[in-house]
Symmetry: C2
Subunit: 149 residues, 2 copies
DNA sequence: TATTGTTATACTCTATAACTATA
DNA sequence: TATAGTTATAGAGTATAACAATA
C-alpha cells in the first residue's frame, strides 16, 4: 500500500526523501532561509525577532527567562541582546532585588521596528504556507506543537 | 478570535512561540539533535545517512545528481562522500562517457552499515513521532511535503 | 565557454568553558 | 556553593570563490 504517491520524487525509492526528518529539514531550511533573507537588510535574524516578539506584550523578561523560553544557550542570548541594544531596539535594565540579573525591555524604537519586521515575517510565513488551506495550516501548527518537545 | 488556545504556552502572548516557523525550528532541532546523537558514535551525520539512503535502491548516482536531490552545495557533497569513502561505505567510480563525473556507489559494507544506521534512525523517528497517532503522522508527512519546497 | 569536482576559506548559528559579580 | 551574565573559543553545517580537468 501507498507504494508511490503522485507527489513522490522519482529519484527516491522511499528510503530517504520521504522521511519526516528529511521533510522537516527541508521545510525548516526553506522557512529560515527566506526569513533571514527578509531580515538581513535590517541586521536582524530570527533569534532577534523571537526575543522582540516575546517582549512585545509589554512585560520585560530577564535573560534567564528568555533563555528558558527559547531554549538557547545563555551566551547566544548575550549576543542577541547585544545586537538589539546596539540598534536601540531593546535595553538591559537592572532588576531590583537581584543585582546579577537584567530585565530586557523593548524600547519604543524596538516596538516600531517589530511592527515592520513582524510584517515582513508574516509575509514570508504567508508565502511559505501558501500551498496549505487555512484548515491545513491549523493542523500543521497543532501537529508540530505536539512534536516540538 | 482565537485569542488563546488551550495548548498555548503561558509565557507568550501569541507573538512568537506560536508561529509555525518557531515550532518548525523546535521540531527540526529536536529531531536533528537526537538523530545526530544516535549517529555520532558511527562517525556519520544526517547528510551521510541521506546519501546512503538515496544510493540504497542499487543504482549509483553522480555527485551532481545527489546535489540536485538533496539541494546542498557541491563542496558539502565532496565532504560527505569523502567521509563515506574513508569509511569504506561508498566509493567514487568513473562514469563512462564523462571523465569529469563520478558515480557514487554504495559498497556492501555501506549497505550493511545502512541497515544498522537506518534502524537507529527509525528508532529516533519513532520516539520523535510518539505523540502522534499513525493517522497524524501521515498528515504531518503530507503537510510537510507540501511546504518543503 | 560551460560543467564536474576539488580545495581553501568564510560565514552563521550554537555550544562549551572559564570568568566576574553577585546571591 | 550556586546563579546571572560575560567573554573567548570552538564546533557544526553550509556557502562562496578560485581552481583543475574535461566537455
Amino acid at each position: 500500500m501507498a507504494r508511490r504517491t503522485k507527489t513522490a520524487p522519482a529519484a527516491d525509492g522511499g528510503a530517504a526523501t520521504h522521511e519526516i526528518g528529511f521533510l522537516l529539514q527541508r521545510a525548516h531550511r526553506r522557512m529560515r532561509g527566506e526569513l533571514n533573507e527578509a531580515l538581513r537588510p535590517l541586521n536582524l535574524n530570527v533569534g532577534h525577532l523571537a526575543v522582540m516578539g516575546l517582549l512585545f506584550n509589554g512585560e520585560a523578561l530577564t535573560q534567564q527567562q528568555l533563555i528558558g523560553i527559547l531554549e538557547i544557550d545563555k551566551s547566544s542570548m548575550v549576543y542577541l541582546i547585544d545586537e538589539l541594544e546596539r540598534q536601540g531596539l531593546a535595553e538591559r535594565r537592572s532588576v531590583s532585588g537581584d543585582r546579577r540579573a537584567y530585565a530586557i525591555h523593548l524600547t519604543d524604537a524596538g516596538r516600531q521596528r517589530l511592527a515592520v519586521v513582524g510584517g515582513a515575517a508574516r509575509d514570508v510565513q504567508e508565502r511559505f504556507l501558501a500551498p496549505l488551506t487555512p484548515r491545513q495550516r491549523m493542523q500543521l501548527r497543532e501537529l508540530l506543537s505536539k512534536v516540538a518537545g
